[in-house]
């Protein structure tokens, strides 16, 4: 029974996005996946939720600036397990053009266990949807059920 629930649960990934000092380019691409009919991430069962407590997949954008670092880590802690962390855009993955900047504490995998990376500046909405699919696969593995 619980295996059945777990298998079902993967088909309803709720997304939560954290802006860790991003330029909003990646956030716009995330918004397009939800609101532009061409991409429509909702048909995968996804929903952008407003509260970290409801989230299953966390999409982090931005290079983790010094200002926002502690807040991002705190919000990330608020997300109930099992969760999948996705780094969206090269800033989140490697800090990209901001690497070694005086105000940059990233990349994010220095502090958080990132599961999926989507490089790109910004990545295409389709690439983000691919990342969600990979995240679903990893989520299955975390729950310990096979497809």
């Amino acid at each position: 029974m619980s295996d059945f629930l777990k298998k079902l649960s993967v088909r309803s990934p709720w997304l939560f996005r954290i802006n860790a000092g991003s330029c909003n380019g990646c956030d716009v691409e995330l918004a397009t996946t939800a609101f532009i009919p061409r991409y429509d991430v909702e048909r995968l069962g996804c929903r952008y939720c407003g509260s970290p407590r409801h989230a299953d997949i966390v999409l982090i954008t931005g290079p983790l600036t010094a200002r926002v670092k502690d807040k991002v880590l705190r919000v990330w802690e608020e997300i109930p397990n099992p969760k999948i962390t996705v780094a969206v855009g090269i800033c989140a993955v490697t800090c990209g053009v901001f690497r070694d900047g005086y105000s940059i504490k990233g990349p994010i995998d220095r502090y958080l266990p990132v599961d999926v990376n989507v490089p790109g500046c910004p990545p295409r909405p389709q690439a983000i949807m691919e990342a969600v699919l990979i995240a679903k696969k990893l989520w299955m593995q975390k729950l310990g059920v096979e497809e």
Binding site: L8, R11, W14, D56
Partner: protein, 320 residues
């Protein structure tokens, strides 16, 4: 004793409980699908709300340190319990005549705001500032949309009561028999303003766009629901699905309770179709084409339009 068991059965299985749950979630899935289609999207599968609940049950529950533990844990249970009881009072025309034949309209009126009150309780006890903001907004919304609801219910009760010579009739079963004898209220010109007021009341009480101000996810991070996650959130969603069934069913019973035949299954499907039409008109269509009101705009909107409409209906019933 048998009465009590029958009542419990009604509460758990047929109009309330499992049936209401299945119908509520089906309507929610259909609603999401229809909104998607109206916006040229594909939308989630119809069974998505069930999957969401299954998902929420597998997640862990976190209780914030600043929360009042008991109230925080009890609030979703109250929301669910209130609606589970309320759903049992909804009669299905031609199938089920209602749990009792006296005063159940009043009971429904008292039970309907329970999810909102539980939401306020949960929001204020979660210890989050967003929860407090959501609490105050929910309170204001409730003040605004309960007035038209009361006036609508009064108008219906007076209409039936005057026809039957009892002053005001608060039994849904009697209102049903009265309507089947004299014609449905939804086609009565006197009751049209009340019907419109009820249609406007629906999105407010269901907390959907444009009246999802207390749970605005972009402004106040879903307000009172902010700190809820996992099974507790699932309880809120279940309560909300039950409420969908209750308010739509109540609308159909009050205004369009006509039956097609004596076969109960046909009547049931006919009832659900009417519920669906009501939902498509008042929730889906509005949701897919509007943005969110500000709280003061929504408050004055409710005071100005549905309240006045329902009062017009009430006055017409009173004097005519």
């Amino acid at each position: 004793m048998t009465d009590a068991i029958l009542a419990l059965l009604h509460m758990c299985i047929f109009p309330g409980g499992l049936f209401a749950l299945a119908v509520g979630f089906f309507f929610k899935g259909l609603d999401r699908r229809m909104v998607a289609r109206l916006q040229r999207r594909v939308g989630p599968p119809l069974h998505q709300p069930y999957i969401d609940i299954a998902k929420l049950l597998t997640k862990e529950t976190l209780i914030p340190k600043t929360a009042h533990r008991t109230a925080f844990l009890l609030a979703p249970v109250i929301a669910f319990a209130g609606m589970a009881v309320c759903a049992a009072f909804i009669p299905v025309p031609g199938v089920f005549q209602g749990l009792t034949d006296m005063g159940d309209l009043l009971v429904i009126f008292y039970l309907l705001p329970i999810p909102a009150i539980a939401l306020m309780l949960g929001g204020s006890s979660s210890g989050s500032p967003f929860g407090a903001v959501g609490f105050s907004r929910e309170m204001l919304m409730m003040l605004a949309y309960e007035i038209p609801l009361l006036a609508v219910l009064l108008a219906v009760a007076m209409m039936a009561g005057k026809g039957m010579g009892t002053g005001a009739e608060f039994s849904l079963a009697k209102i049903l028999t009265f309507q089947s004898a004299t014609g449905q209220f939804g086609f009565n010109p006197v009751m049209i303003p009340a019907l419109i007021a009820y249609l406007i009341f629906l999105p407010g009480t269901m907390g959907v766009i444009p009246f999802d101000i207390p749970e605005a996810e972009t402004e106040i991070l879903e307000g009172p629901l902010l700190e809820y996650g996992g099974p507790l959130l699932a309880l809120y969603h279940i309560g909300s699905a039950l409420k969908t069934f209750v308010v739509l069913g109540l609308g159909v019973v009050l205004f369009f309770p006509g039956t097609l035949t004596d076969i109960w299954i046909v009547n049931l499907v006919w009832f659900l179709l009417k519920c669906l039409l009501l939902m498509a008109l008042s929730l889906t269509l509005v949701k897919s084409a509007t943005g969110r009101f500000r709280i003061d705009q929504a408050f004055w909107f409710y005071i100005k339009i549905p309240t006045v409409l329902s009062l017009i209906s009430l006055a017409l019933v009173w004097w005519l």
